[in-house]
Amino acid sequence: MRHLFGYEERSAALFLAPVMLVLMGVAVFPIFYSLYISFFRIKLTRPNRTPFVGLDNYTDLFTNELFWVSVVRTVTFSVVSVTAIAVIALLISLLLNQNFRGRRVLSTILLVPWAIPYVANALMWKWIYDSGYGALNGVLYQLDFIDKYMIWLGDQDKTIFLIANAFVWKEVPLAAILLLVSLKSIPSDLYQAARVDGAGVWQRFIHVTLPAMKPGFMLVMIYETMMAIRHFDLFFILTEGGPGDASHVLSWHIYVETFRNLSFGSGAAMSYVLALVTFALSYVFIRTLGRRI
């Protein structure tokens, strides 16, 4: 009897099987299980009563005021962060694409924030922003920009931007490297051809550099948007959603609902909403930016 798959395919399947099994357990199963429990009212404070409630967890969301606040916070945080990341990463990648002394050292230093884990990054910024002994206060005070130490994260109007700043610092390296790769992939003949054709520095940037960077740019936008929308660590460590609801983003809202209110059903429903929104956004990005590449 001849097998449907050849020897290579069958042995590949065999080697992959253990990993697939583990993935089934830790990824695929939770995905479906959380969908399943999002249709029940599960509160660990009443573990014996878990009635099926259909779409109630979902519809309840939209009447919850704090949910809408968290949506606004998330959008603000994401738009500010992603814009800043894109612009700063673009400038840095253009800089690193030039030939100058010390370029390698600078590229290496640039990568440091990328190597720091999210939690460590958050703790670092907690120190920097600290109202008593923080570096930000220290520097600004010594430079005479402020005349007394400030409680930076206690200011409702600034909190989300300060957190965005910490997030941008962490994310820029990867984004810059991704953009740098697309810059490096531009053949130098194209610039030469454009020079002979009479294009100046700015026109070469518009007609050669930017179009070539489009795929890299799209990747950065999609990836960073997804990272920003779902980001949790900074909010958990720096502010716990505060002061008030100033940094009460969606991921924090889900955390509070699930692990503080122990309301697993509605937490799962929110997670699903967040996943769908992320998915929809990437789709929009691909459709708009991805056109005609």
Binding site: L190, A193, R195, V196, D197, A212
Partner: protein, 366 residues
């Protein structure tokens, strides 16, 4: 009008590499000049200096007696076709061709007319809306030509424009480029490492090696009267054969090439140039096609040796031939009936022999 003159031009790259050395060359108006040489000899560097893409390190570069050392590319009225074609990947064929005119703010109708004109001549009208990635190599080539054509430049620069095409297309494009030159009536500077291409296209050929010009001349000149062994070896297929031996001037003023049992008498004209070379070690150069089968006598000398290999190449045969321990390659008519191991006689045309100094490689009969 465009004459280009290099006066003692040097090119050193930032890393210190000396790519072009003491270049003196005058490119005539409306001439088709080919820069020929092996990869890395400085052809592209020279072309890029004309384009203004590379700075001249020392010496003068003049366009019609005007010093252009520091003139940026777009002011030089040159257009260039790159080996990779360098088409803008995100622009349509139309916009690729129009780009140079748009950058120069040519009127829209004028641009449109010229683009469509060029497209018609190059037979790529139906491709104007496509992207470069949707074109075949030959079509991209044409777009690159079109982009240069529409500018109607005073100087047309081409850097190995045909080397990415397959053999058949390469030959038909040669003819088209030659036609283009006749039609455009401008100066063409063409870079290639393909001697056959240079021989068919050029009005004059400049042969380069390691940044140094070896010889400048018409294709016939370069082929028939190579200045040194480098030029002699670089042109011709299969390459020229060399036999190392001595010059012997006899008492009765005969000049003779001697290698062991092999002795050849030079005809009078050649002999005169070699009169004071008695005892000199030389390389005797015999072009692959300068022999005929059989022993006709006449001005020829008969070489008798053994056939080592027979390689049919369509119209002709390449014959590997062993003569007193020398391995030689000749090109003969395909109806020669020999097989490996046969003893054959070939008549060599003594008027077409080349003689080079063994040590310097310089021609002794130039």
């Amino acid at each position: 009008m465009a004459r280009i003159r290099f006066e003692n031009v040097e090119k050193k790259y930032a890393n210190g590499f000396h790519a072009v050395k003491d270049l003196n060359l005058e490119i005539r108006d409306k001439e088709f000049l080919v820069l020929l040489g092996p990869s890395g000899c400085g052809k592209s560097t020279t072309l890029n200096m004309i384009a203004g893409l590379e700075e001249v390190s020392d010496g003068s570069l003049l366009f019609d007696d005007e010093l252009v050392n520091y003139m940026p590319p777009h002011k030089r009225d040159v257009a260039m076709v790159f080996q990779s074609y360098a088409l803008y990947p995100h622009k349509s064929v139309y916009d690729n061709i129009a780009f140079g005119l748009q950058m120069r703010r040519a009127p829209r109708e004028e641009t449109d007319r010229r683009v469509r004109d060029a497209a018609r001549k190059l037979e790529i009208e139906h491709l104007l809306d496509r992207r470069p990635s949707q074109l075949s190599g030959g079509q991209r080539q044409r777009v690159a030509l079109g982009r240069a054509m529409v500018r109607e430049p005073a100087v047309f620069l081409m850097d190995e424009p045909l080397s990415n095409l397959d053999a058949a297309l390469r030959i038909s494009m040669r003819a088209e480029i030659k036609e283009l030159h006749q039609e455009m009536q401008t100066t063409f500077v063409y870079v290639t490492h393909d001697q056959a291409e240079a021989l068919t296209l050029a009005d004059r050929i400049v042969v380069m090696r390691d940044g140094v010009v070896q010889q400048i001349g018409s294709p016939g000149d370069i082929y028939e009267r190579p200045r040194n062994t480098f030029v002699a070896s670089f042109l011709g297929n299969p390459p020229i054969n060399y036999i190392e031996g001595q010059i012997k001037v006899t008492d009765d003023q005969m000049v003779r090439f001697v290698q062991g049992e092999l002795e050849l008498n030079f005809p009078a004209e050649t002999a005169a140039k070699l009169a004071d070379c008695d005892g000199l070690t030389v390389l005797l150069g015999i072009r692959a096609e300068d022999v005929e089968e059989g022993s006709h006598g006449g001005a020829g000398a008969v070489l008798t040796g053994k056939v080592n290999s027979v390689l049919p190449v369509g119209s002709d045969l390449f014959l590997g031939f062993e003569l007193f321990g020398n391995e030689l390659f000749f090109r003969v008519g395909k109806d020669i009936g020999h097989a490996s191991g046969d003893e054959v006689s070939l008549t060599v045309d003594l008027n077409r022999l080349h003689v080079f100094d063994k040590d310097s490689g310089a021609s002794l009969i130039w």
